[in-house]
Symmetry: C2
Subunit: 559 residues, 2 copies
Amino acid sequence: LIDPVPRAGETARSRGLWDRYRRRLWVDPELGLSLDLSRIGGEDDTIDHVQPAMSSAVSSAMSSAIRAMADLEAGAIANVDEHRMVGHYWLRAPALAPTPELAASIDRSVESVRSFAVGVHTGAVRGAHGRFEHVIHVGIGGSALGPQLVCDALRGVHDPVRVHFLDNADPDGIDRLIRPLTGVLGRTLVSVVSKSGWTPTPWFGMLELQARYEQLGLPFPRHAVATTMEGTALDARAAEEGWIARFPLWDWVGGGTSVTSAVGLLPAALQGVPVDAFLQGAAAMDRLTRVPDPLANPAALLALAWHRAGNGRGDRDMVVLPYSDRLALFARYVQQLVMESVGKKLDRSGARVDQGLTTYGGKGCTDQHAYMQQLRDGPDNVFLTFLQVAEDRRGPSIEIQPDVTLGDWLFGNLEGSRNALYERGRQSITITLPHLSASSLGAVIALYERAVGLYAELVDLNAYHQPGVDKDAGVPVVDLQRAVLAHLRTTRSPQTAEEVADALGRPAATETVYKLLVRLAADDTRGVSATRHDAGFDARFQLRELVPASRDHVDARDA
Amino acid sequence: LIDPVPRAGETARSRGLWDRYRRRLWVDPELGLSLDLSRIGGEDDTIDHVQPAMSSAVSSAMSSAIRAMADLEAGAIANVDEHRMVGHYWLRAPALAPTPELAASIDRSVESVRSFAVGVHTGAVRGAHGRFEHVIHVGIGGSALGPQLVCDALRGVHDPVRVHFLDNADPDGIDRLIRPLTGVLGRTLVSVVSKSGWTPTPWFGMLELQARYEQLGLPFPRHAVATTMEGTALDARAAEEGWIARFPLWDWVGGGTSVTSAVGLLPAALQGVPVDAFLQGAAAMDRLTRVPDPLANPAALLALAWHRAGNGRGDRDMVVLPYSDRLALFARYVQQLVMESVGKKLDRSGARVDQGLTTYGGKGCTDQHAYMQQLRDGPDNVFLTFLQVAEDRRGPSIEIQPDVTLGDWLFGNLEGSRNALYERGRQSITITLPHLSASSLGAVIALYERAVGLYAELVDLNAYHQPGVDKDAGVPVVDLQRAVLAHLRTTRSPQTAEEVADALGRPAATETVYKLLVRLAADDTRGVSATRHDAGFDARFQLRELVPASRDHVDARDA
């Protein structure tokens, strides 16, 4: 048993860490939130808001980053590639939006979410079979993770509706989601979220759900709402089919930072989360993270800690460990936010930098019993973020040992692990929330949004585009599948994969053609048969009969 | 839009990848499982089972590793630190166990799980209020992750019981788990799993649950079963209190590889999973991974791929991406298995090696919209494992585009991402299961168990101990808390954290003492008050009244 609290020969001198903790703890008394950077870097380190020994280069870069963030909030074109503003901070402070029209449209969107939720809760807005009890949120990436985090963190037994998430293109996953809801689909609302209005995966998910409603004789439009930019394919479809409601998005809201837009507010409000408190928590943090002095600005401090721990190059992975079951999705949320903002080949001047900040995690103390082995005993390639919720439960606790509650044990694990890891040279950040609420969750989300923006500024990256996120990664493959099927329709002679690929003029695609043929032959309904049961590499494939192209498909692009 | 399937100037020469795919695809026709290593390393690489250009050093090391694994299966003391055998492979092939007694005890344990599940399903074994409809599995680390994976992957609407997991020490998490079950606790079985019988976190979770049952007037022992080694504190408690049943564990089963013991079999069987098929799938893979020729052994091939991609030092992170909602926990499972086996400071000779193989992931195609940005565009510090389930759903699919189903789109995303990543120099492994079943899940779990063992052999690590997993990380902190409270009981004068720490002779622990005092003062029920409302660093703390040490605690170590 390692005792992380040294005993032998303890002297007043061994108060070094206590001094450092006091000097490096940032606290906001109003939010009750604190940020402890005492276990980042060395004793005379760059992050020290009492004795700023911060290197002047990093310090002045961070001051510039904060100024750049102010320009961004004033409506500068921060995302130059896509020539758009970056305005997620306006969502909780509409008065800061660059035009009064924009401010009014934000206000209207929040009001429309609020009043829609009231309508659902009172039953004024209802499905074919009555008051909505379930919501299926259809979205992917940032359009799913933020809402999933908020709904999971703030879920309660008395919520007016239960929110489910369709965040993938897995047919079995859809079946698994829908099957238990079959009897209540007439009391289930489908909320389709797609900023561009034509991201294939949520679109296709919508088609699957629509087919399911229709099979049950339920009018899908009476059970559907859309959240998308004005004038998109999704917007048009919802308008034409007369969906219950449409909620706006704007080009200046990125997917990864959309949780304080209707994307996150709608499912939260439907579940009964007080969205005003959520927005107020975020707004309060936004005010704190606009402070020009980096050493008094928690987002700047957080970004500086990442910079210090990873040498500004992501040399160490960031492991995020909330000690709270309700925050089990927080690490995934931060993972997406950080890695899609910071994982970039080129900096803003176009120089190749191959930047990244690998982020993963889970929850404590659970994960102490899993990968923590490597974090403690393996290479020094990580730093940790402990996220603590001070109020460990509402109501009294039993004693599980004399003078010790389960919450004490949970805290003991956090503090003990932090200390033991530090003894082994592992740096860490500790963030403490007073309790888990809509407000504190809004605040910590806003903290990370700003920290990521500042870190990207510091290392000169455009945080707001994702050239590597390929929403259409499947398109060349399904296009090839269509070509393969079209070819098989023109011939009755059995063909090998190589012959088909050659016939299509795509010899380099033979591997994919082969896999497609095997897939098609394995499914009785596709009309493709293979000459060998095990579909070996030399198997020949043909159509069992000349099947005409199906006409009862729903072509998404027609919408 | 990047087209991952090259078109311009395609010639027969561009069949290189097709040739490589055919040469490097390992397939087992019986299991229908395949392992594709064609996108690992270069063209003339070490892993090539048709033209073995494998470096002789790695090749002979792997042959030795397979021989060492045979010794291990024969009962050698593989875990020398803890002087114990490593026998999880015997769990699905009891005839291989080193003694007939051991074989018989394995057989009996599987039979006892099977017959217990029948008893629960028929209602012969029942709670105070009737047939068991819910199970709360209490365990942490390997005792939770494997069962969580199996139960989540194979969950269905008609399952006889629903299994919940208590895998943390979060009081709010327990409340959140229990609250919806309050009305049905008399039909809820608690299954406590702790190999050592005294891992604090599950023990304390058990105490919390027991208190809840008793508050409701329900006899806890009539609702509880234990899975632990013979003679442990948990075993004794279950015996004394007359719990419904006890299931055995043995010292030769490690937590991370316990899923084919009663740890995993019991919740699976209760949920209605055919555990025989699960064991048979694992046993079939075990036979395939005993093949002495590394190039014909899928676990050896997988381990060689990890070795190649990470240069035998974990230089690249392993990102695990099952394209299946049901396998959403697979990455976490592999993360624990790999990182606790391979994340080691010392090799078996005691030399400092600082080994690790960082593993993280989630699910596809969802995560293409998240951290994939960094994997594609950021540093070349990852390799991927795509896990495909060939049967994408049971039953027919609608067309979401002409000639395209949602399953085609899912496959298109996997294949398209794999190809696009390869174009950018990212290596990958692709594993294909024919369908998701108890059998195929058993097989893929057994594949990873063996691959981890072989990889550890290859880099000369003891995979079977976890010196860095500190189950008692919280102990020094709660001990300190008890000392702090004891001290406050001896004095009526308000004390600062520094004064308390000095009085305890623990000045270096001042930071932790301060946090403990703040925690205690924040909770009305603890009797500690602070002289300043905001509990600043100089706050003074005292007991509001002289509260005697509580007597109604349940002391776990007394059990």
